[in-house]
């Protein structure tokens, strides 16, 4: 599956869980500042990604993941 397709699926989940517009889900977008996502939103988002891509994300791996791009890299590294 291409990066493009992967990102489409990733974006769909983001739009669904974080209640944002498709256009807002840019690689540089920061969860807190740009997407208004609180810590609970992030937990929900991670759970949705785990479900979508059949991966497992440990609590510590989320440290330093502040942007959409960083989250996407994390997902890619697990597939």
């Amino acid at each position: 599956m291409s990066d493009q397709d992967l990102f489409e699926r990733f974006k769909r989940r983001a739009v669904e869980v974080l209640s944002v517009e498709d256009g807002q889900v840019k690689l540089e977008a920061k969860f807190a500042d740009d997407l208004d996502a609180d810590s609970l939103d992030l937990v929900e988002f991670v759970m949705a990604l785990e479900e979508e891509f059949d991966i497992n994300v440990e609590e510590q791996e989320l440290e330093g993941v502040d942007t959409i791009g960083q989250a996407f890299e994390l997902v890619k590294s697990k597939i």
Binding site: D38, L40, E44, M47
Partner: protein, 238 residues
Amino acid sequence: MSTPRTVLVTGGNRGIGLATAKQFAAQGHRVAITYRSEAPADSEGLFAVRCDVTDAQQIDDAFAQIDKELGPVEIVVSNAGITRDGLVLRMKDDDFTDVLDANLTAGFRVARRAVKGMMKGRWGRIIFVSSIVGAAGQAGQANYAASKAGLVGLARSLAKEFASRNITVNIVAPGPIATDMLDALPEERRQAMAEAVPLGRLGSPDEVAGVICFLASDAAAFVTGAVIPVDGGMAMGI
């Protein structure tokens, strides 16, 4: 009449749990109960699932079954609990940790599993059944009282974590209630308890169920993190 919801009452096979399950069912909700060993004598209208709340896997399985049968759980009454009374000097480590595990840690496990579905639905009600001895203490019940007091800290933290998702978390603190748990005590003890209650009697499981049902209702939408005693005035001010 509130929207019918899917309700789970842990330890709903007898006592306060069963009374609560029946009241919810009478109000038109879809009610599931868990029991550890003895299935309820009369479970008409209730979906009974065997589940030991000290086992996270069994909790997961129970929720999966209920989800399939009645839909995602929207109201949880964490009521399952045990006593293992004894004076502190005679209390072994197991007597303390087992009670903590069944009464407090189990509450945490059940709530953790429940909020997943509630978060998605942006609506939820969690009610923990604590006890007045949690705040007042009780000789011979250091383990039970500790576990019941712990539920308050747990509930209030959950209330704050999940408030943004329209999930309220509250606690009822029953005083002496006429159930099997109290039947285990000698008559003179029960008499003494009744006399210590300003209203002069033991409470009934239905009276506790009434408050639990209120907390789960639309009428209590602005109540969260509250500890509501149902104790005939026994521990007022504590």
